[in-house]
Structure formats: structure tokens, C-alpha cells
């Protein structure tokens, strides 16, 4: 089906439009609401060919996806209209034409007519329509719309014009009221219909002011800080007020050698060895890697591949917990922060196995050696993922450690200041942190709007520092270092106690978690044991994820260990669905915080076209999942993007 919104005007009209004009630049929209067959539509070419036939000089042509997306269109059109152009012809629906007319100083020729569909369609390409009358009558009519389905939009029953159950206006169309009677009769509801008062439509219901204000508001929210983003239901109330509790000692821990980005660590213990809390059990293996330490005291009972949250088996060191919590000798406080040099801090962070705790697990020490001047350290306390509340609790309950860790990072990278960034859905944390940093000129708290993926590095930098990390670049390229609040706590522990990263805050929550909570959990603790401790899962077939709703990994097997990046375990609704074909609704592009066009990634990944993928900057995508979340065709876009990146890497 095709609900494209425009067709070119007929040749006669175009000819008269062009009569006194010349030197025309053509802008053509690649259309929307149709099955995604070709990446570029031909309307612009057709128009340009026609203009040339009329003896006109066409100064150029450009084709734009979703011309109505003002922000992206402005960027695409910047500087592309050649000198000597006198007119711009636009092939688009009226939205696109008006966008261009507003943006450019040259006169604009509307080369197309918008198509007029009766009623509106939903997001899916469906025949079902809605007249948006603002006074839904479906409750009186058995769920068949009298506004759209009846040619006369009658509200009080059938007119006399139906013949053989067909409409007098269009004999191919069923009489809507005939269908309504049948449906009501089948449901035994004729009397309800007879007894209802006379229906008079209120045409004043459409309140332009409400709608206009509302449109302003959504645009504002869509564009604040950065383009796009989404607002999934937060569901933080399930756990946000439950204090962090120490999770009971696990019987055994399964500590994978790979809990970080980069090469797995190399075990330095053998089966049968006795280990203590904080003892090194696997050493760093290369530049991008991190050492691993024991979270319990006890005996190594196996070193073998074990199930991992990423879905494959990964080498792990399995330790029987003696529950004595004997601390390893290496766990000793370092010098006070004031006496530590930057290099010493980096060394501690490296030796204590600290990796990014927001999820990606990048070794933190690498970030602390940016090799470039840093203007600010951004401490990410956004916790923009729905459900998760661990960082929120950390901010509230470990505020001093958070600040200590932040100061250590500031010192390590030589930054003049640190900014703790918190979303506005955590007013208690903002208030507490503001009080804590009030006397420190180098620290500040920034409140940002609650919007996913607010906590993503590049979004934070753009939003707080108004700087754009260049395509393929790192935060340090624009003078920023970003770290998670839990990472700051781990750094604080490493310096003040000498304790490596062996324990972390985890939210255990979700609509179907019987007793949600926030816990300090030892690395290596079995996820299923945590779920059991929290009363189990209340709906059969619910989905369990490690991490957040948006970027968390679905756990087919819940007998996997908590790792350094595990910020949450959530039990949520299962999506029962199938992917449909892309219908070019354009929402993925609308919500992409990186201003990319995910629909093209899907298209090109399917075709395995690495060149095109790279041209569309697929490598800038950090897989936040906004596009997949919003996709009206339920296409697993992140999967396609991963496949596309793989294909692109192979070419590179």
C-alpha cells in the first residue's frame, strides 16, 4: 500500500508555472508512508526532465528523505544551491514546500499537489481511517466509524441512498450504516442505539490553540539538548525509593574473564587455589583490557566457559564462597587524593580493574589518559534507562564517594571542573548534590530534561557543553571526559579502601518482578538467585533483561553472573510481534539522537551494501535503540545496524 502524500502537478499546469521562469534548482522529497522499495524516488528527476524539455536550465537537483524534518533538512540544504539559481522547485507535500519556502530567500515553485485521503491513517499502512472528530462515536456504532466510513458522515443512522448495501456516492463502497446495524445486531445492541439521544456534531471541538500549544511543546521536547530521543514510560517508582541493601553472600560466584570491552583477562589462579576478597584472579591482557579480582573469599572450583549475559559461553573463574569475607593483603588504602599524582590515580584505576559501569564496560584508565586538554569531566547521573534506579540510589546514599571519585577523575585528567549531570526526574538527588558541591568552585550540578538517551556520552556533551563529538571521534576531542556515577564510587573505593571493583549497585525491578529492590551485589552472583531472592517473576513468559529496557541484553538463560556493567535486572513485558516491511513513516530518523537515518541502515544492511552504509555514517550509531523503540513496523533495527556495522568493518 502507498499513502505517499504528493504527486507532481500535471504537465499543463507545470508548463504554465515554468513559463516565465528559468534557472531552477529542484528539491525532491523521497516520500513517506509507502513500502520502502527504493532509496531515492524519481519525482525530482521527472520534473527536471520536464523542465529541460521546456527549455529551462536546471541548476541542480537534490533528493531528501523526509523533507518535512526541518532540522535535518536545513543541514542537508546548507550551501547546496548553486549561484545563478533563480527559482527552487519543490516536489513534496505541502509541508516540505513550506519548509523550503521559509528557509530559502529564492521564490519557491510548488511542483506537486498533496494527495488528499479521506480520514487519516494510523501509523501502519491500514485501510482503517479516523476522522479525528475529537468526539469519538465508535462507542455508539459498534466500532465502525460513521465520520469516515459514511460518505455523508451521518451520525444518526442510514440515509435513504444505500442500494444493495452499497453507498450512493461510491457504489463500490459498503454502506457504513449497514455495517453498523449488522454489527450492533450481532451484539444485541440495537436498543442501545435506538435509545441514544440525537447526535449533533460539535465542530468547535477541534481546539487549534490546544493543538498548536501542544505541537510547540513536543517540538520543544524533541529538540531540546539534541535532536530526537524518546520518552518510554519511566516506571522508576517501582524501586526508586527502596534503599540499597547488601545482597546476601552467594554460595558460589562465577566471575567471567571478560566483563569489559577489549581482550579477556588471563587467569592467574588455578582450580583448588584459595582466594581472598579483592585478590587479583585474572590479569589485564593488552591495552584495552582490565584485570579481574575475586569478590569473595573461598576456593576456586573451576575455570571453564560458563554462560554469559551476551548469550555465549565465556571463560569464567568459579569460586566457592567460604563466606568469611577475608580481605586480600593487597587491599590497602592509597595515599590521600591530595598527595596522589595524576599518573598514580590512573595506575590505581587500572590495577583495580575499574571499567565503565554504565553498561559499555570500557576500561576506565584509558579514558583517564586523554592526551588532550580537558575542559570538564561530566559525571553521568542521568540514568535515562526506564526502570533503573541503582545510580539514583548511589547518588543519594554514596554522595560523598561519588564526589571523591569525581575529584580523582578531575585530577587524573587535569580538568578545571567537574559537572554532575542528573535528569530532572530525580529532584532529591539534584538537591543533595547541589548542597554537597555548594562550597566547591570546581564542581557543579547540571539538571537535564528526562529524555532517553540523555546519559549517552555524546548527548551529554552536546547538551551540557554544547559541543559535538566529531564523527568517529572521542569525547576528549572536544575536551570532555564522561564517567558514570557508579564508576566514580568504584574509583573512590579503589583509592580510599584499596578495594578493586568486586561489587556494584544493581536495580532488580520491572513490572513482573515480585519484590523490586536495589542491592549491592558481588560480581559473579547468579542472576536467577537474585530473581528468586526478589520473589520471582509474576507473569509467565515475561522477558528478563540485564541492563535497562532500551539497551539491556535479553537473558534467555538467567543462570548468568552479574558482571561489572550490570546496572539492572528487569522483568518486563514480552514483545510478541513480527517485523513488517518498512513503510517509511520516518519516525526512526525523527528520534535518532545522532541525526542519522536508521531506515537506510536497514535497507542497506539487507542488501549488504557496505559502501552505502558508510556513506550514511553507520559507524556513528551507538545503538541506543530509539529507532527500534519507535519503529512502527517493528523492525529489529539494532540487529540490522549491528549486521551493517559488521559488513562495513569488513570493507574498511
Amino acid at each position: 500500500m502507498d499513502y505517499t502524500k504528493y504527486v507532481l502537478k500535471d504537465n499543463e499546469e507545470l508548463a504554465s508555472l515554468l513559463e516565465d521562469k528559468d534557472n531552477i534548482f529542484v528539491i525532491s522529497c523521497n516520500k513517506c508512508f509507502k513500502e520502502f522499495e527504493s532509496v531515492e524516488e524519481t519525482d525530482g528527476d521527472d520534473f527536471a526532465a520536464f523542465a529541460k524539455e521546456q527549455g529551462k536550465n536546471v541548476t541542480g537537483i537534490t533528493k531528501v528523505d523526509f523533507l518535512c524534518n526541518q532540522l535535518l533538512t536545513a543541514k542537508k540544504l546548507e550551501g547546496i544551491i548553486p549561484e545563478g539559481t533563480e527559482y527552487i522547485a519543490v516536489c513534496s507535500c505541502g509541508l516540505g514546500i513550506q519548509i523550503v519556502a521559509e528557509m530559502e530567500d529564492l521564490p519557491v515553485i510548488a511542483a506537486s499537489n498533496s494527495l488528499n485521503y479521506i480520514g487519516h491513517h494510523g501509523m501502519a499502512l491500514t485501510q482503517k481511517t479516523c476522522g479525528a472528530c475529537a468526539q469519538c462515536y465508535l462507542n455508539l456504532t459498534g466500532g465502525i466509524c460513521p465520520i469516515v466510513d459514511c460518505s455523508k458522515s451521518l451520525l444518526n443512522g442510514q440515509c435513504g441512498g444505500a442500494k444493495n448495501g452499497k453507498c450512493e456516492v461510491d457504489p463500490k463502497k459498503d454502506c457504513a450504516w449497514e455495517k453498523i446495524y449488522q454489527r450492533l445486531e450481532a451484539q444485541g445492541r440495537q436498543k442501545d442505539f435506538l435509545d441514544q439521544p440525537v447526535q449533533l456534531r460539535d465542530y468547535a471541538k477541534s481546539n487549534f490553540k490546544v493543538v498548536n500549544d501542544f505541537v510547540k511543546e513536543i517540538r520543544d521536547s524533541r529538540l531540546t539538548g539534541y535532536n530526537g530521543g524518546v520518552h518510554p514510560t519511566e516506571n522508576k517508582e517501582l524501586a526508586e525509593n527502596i534503599p540499597l541493601a547488601k545482597f546476601p553472600e552467594p554460595e558460589i560466584v562465577v566471575i567471567p574473564t571478560s566483563m569489559h570491552a577489549g581482550a579477556p583477562a588471563t587467569p592467574v589462579v588455578k582450580v583448588g587455589d584459595t582466594v581472598k576478597v579483592g585478590q587479583l584472579i585474572a590479569e589485564q591482557n593488552g591495552f584495552i583490557s582490565a584485570p579481574v579480582h575475586s569478590s569473595v573469599s573461598g576456593t576456586v572450583i573451576a575455570i571453564e566457559p560458563r554462560p554469559h549475559s551476551k548469550g555465549t559461553d565465556v571463560d569464567a573463574i568459579v569460586i566457592q564462597n567460604d563466606k568469611q569475607n577475608t580481605i586480600d593483603d593487597s587491599v590497602k588504602p592509597a595515599k590521600p587524593l591530595e598527595e596522589l599524582t595524576a599518573d598514580e590515580i590512573v595506575e590505581i584505576v587500572k590495577d583495580k580493574g575499574i571499567t565503565g559501569m554504565g553498561g559499555a564496560g570500557f576500561p576506565t584508565y584509558v579514558k583517564l589518559k586523554p592526551g588532550k586538554p580537558i575542559d570538564a569531566v561530566l559525571l553521568n547521573g542521568c540514568e535515562c534507562e526506564p526502570y533503573l534506579t541503582a545510580d539514583h540510589r548511589v547518588l543519594l546514599e554514596q554522595a560523598d564517594d561519588v564526589i571523591y571519585g569525581l575529584k580523582a577523575i578531575i585530577k587524573a585528567v587535569g580538568a578545571p571542573k567537574g559537572i554532575i549531570v542528573i535528569e530532572d526526574n530525580k529532584p532529591d538527588a539534584i538537591e543533595l548534590m547541589e548542597a554537597k558541591v555548594a562550597d566547591d568552585e570546581t564542581l557543579e550540578v547540571a539538571t537535564v530534561r528526562t529524555k532517553y538517551p540523555q546519559g549517552a556520552e555524546k548527548m551529554l556533551i552536546k547538551n551540557v557543553m554544547k559541543r559535538m563529538v566529531p564523527s568517529g571521534g572521542l569525547p576528549a576531542d572536544v575536551g570532555a571526559v564522561v564517567a558514570n556515577v557508579s564508576t566514580a564510587v568504584a574509583i573512590s573505593d579503589a583509592i580510599q579502601k584499596g578495594m578493586p571493583l568486586v561489587e556494584r549497585a544493581v536495580s532488580v525491578t520491572g513490572d513482573f518482578m515480585a519484590k523490586p529492590g536495589n542491592f549491592m551485589v558481588k560480581i559473579g552472583t547468579d542472576v536467577q538467585s537474585i530473581i528468586d531472592y526478589c520473589g520471582g517473576i509474576t507473569r509467565e513468559g515475561a522477558t528478563v533483561k540485564m541492563g535497562g529496557l532500551m539497551m539491556g541484553a535479553v537473558l534467555e538463560n538467567t543462570n548468568v553472573p552479574v558482571i561489572k556493567g550490570t546496572n539492572g535486572i528487569i522483568a518486563v513485558n514480552t514483545e510478541y510481534t513480527e517485523a513488517n516491511e518498512c513503510i517509511k513513516c520516518g519516525r526512526c530518523q525523527d528520534v535518532c539522537p545522532m541525526e542519522l537515518a536508521p531506515l537506510n541502515f536497514y535497507k542497506f544492511a539487507k542488501q549488504n551494501d557496505a559502501k552505502a552504509l558508510l556513506e550514511k555514517n553507520i559507524m556513528d550509531c551507538f545503538e541506543c535503540g530509539c529507532c527500534q523503540y519507535i519503529c512502527s513496523s517493528k523492525i529489529p533495527l539494532v540487529m540490522w545496524i549491528k549486521a551493517g556495522k559488521q559488513a562495513a568493518r569488513e570493507v574498511k
Binding site: 501502519a124 472528530c133 510478541y576
Partner: protein, 212 residues
């Protein structure tokens, strides 16, 4: 893209005779959905023991997607006297077709979004009239920029350049006038033939589609 507001609480309550199976559609939530109000209302209903289950999903306008979800809730739908749908009119109709033997009720009214047929609401409106007037109006749509959708120029109702219908809205024809003056094209307005809208372009649309 369609957005909704909740009907009067009393009028929804009156629809629920017995127990309800509730469907929320969040497909257009990024644009608008009365989530807080709907949740409050549903929790009250649930507390009164009048709910068999609440299913929150998205894009119920897609029949296939709807079917895949509803399959898992057959018992709950069976046990309900009515299916109460919190969505736009398209969603309600899709559910009503899928459960043709059930009473399916709409809990929301669908806002009219005149001219906002963009992917997400844009500042510029297009009414999809099928006979684009933008060539004569400096690229400002007279159908959506003017409350009366006048196509031959300003009415006498503008005051201080603002519309008589909504004093916070700039008169569309004033904007058109200014734009054309800026472009030095005021003549195209003066010399334009009398414009008369053709309201039968729906049919033209169908024909254009069929001939493809």
C-alpha cells in the same frame, strides 16, 4: 500520526458494565498520549475489581501486530464483558474488527490535527487539499494558516495582524502578503484568477493511485 485525549471519566465508567479488558496503545506516545490520566483511571477501575487485564502495547493500528499480542490474552478477553481501548480511532476500529463479537469501546477522543500530517508535528501545516495553492501564496498554506481557509485573500476580521478566531494566531493572509512583498511578487496575488476549491479531490486521489 494521531493523538488522543481521554473522554470524560464518567462517560467511560458508564461503558464498563461488568469487567473490562484494557488495551493501551503507546505507538504515538512520543507525540502524545494521556498516559498519566489513563493510568490513574485504570488503577481505580482495577481496584474496583472491574479489570481482567491491562495490555500496553504499541501500533495496534497494525492488525498483524495486534493479533500477535492478543493471542496471548484470549482468556482475559473472554472473561471480560467489554474491551476498552485507549488509542486513536484507528486503533479502536482495528480492535473492534478483531473482536467483532465483543463490545469494543473507545476511551479516548482523537484530536483533530488540522494540517499536521507530517511525521511528527512540524511548524508548517499541510491540509492535503490536493490542489496546492502555495505557488500563489509565497509558500504559506492559506488553508491551514487562515482559520477560514480562505483562498482569495484576507477577510476583514484581522485585528493588529492577528486572526479573529484566535487572537494569538497571526493572520495567515497578512503573513502571505508580507512574504510576497519581501519576494517582490505581490503581483502574482493581484493577477491570480479567482480561486475556487475543488472538494472532490478525494476522488482524484483515488484515480491517481489506481492509474499508477
Amino acid at each position: 500520526m494521531l493523538i488522543t485525549q481521554l473522554k470524560e471519566k464518567e462517560s467511560i465508567e458508564a461503558l464498563v458494565n461488568g469487567k473490562a479488558f484494557i488495551i493501551n496503545c503507546f505507538g504515538c506516545k512520543e507525540v502524545h498520549f494521556p498516559e498519566k490520566e489513563a493510568k490513574e483511571f485504570q488503577e481505580e477501575l482495577k481496584a474496583a475489581g472491574k479489570v481482567t487485564e491491562i495490555l500496553t502495547m504499541d501500533y495496534i493500528c497494525n492488525p498483524k501486530n495486534l493479533e500477535l499480542h492478543l493471542q496471548n490474552y484470549k482468556a482475559e478477553i473472554e472473561a471480560a464483558d467489554v474491551v476498552l481501548v485507549f488509542s486513536c480511532g484507528v486503533g479502536v476500529q482495528t480492535v473492534a474488527d478483531f473482536c467483532a463479537d465483543k463490545k469494543v469501546f473507545a476511551a479516548c477522543d482523537t484530536y483533530e490535527l488540522p494540517g499536521y500530517q507530517g511525521v511528527t508535528p512540524q511548524l508548517f501545516d499541510c491540509d492535503q487539499c490536493g490542489m496546492c495553492f502555495l505557488n500563489g501564496t509565497g509558500g504559506i498554506c492559506p488553508l491551514t494558516a487562515c482559520s477560514k481557509s480562505l483562498v482569495n485573500g484576507q477577510c476583514g476580521g484581522a485585528k493588529n495582524g492577528m486572526c479573529e478566531v484566535d487572537p494569538e494566531m497571526e493572520c495567515g493572509w497578512e503573513r502571505i502578503q508580507k512574504r510576497l512583498e519581501k519576494l517582490g511578487r505581490i503581483d502574482i496575488l493581484k493577477n491570480a484568477p479567482v480561486q475556487i476549491r475543488d472538494y472532490s479531490t478525494d476522488d482524484a486521489t483515488k484515480e491517481a493511485k489506481q492509474s499508477e
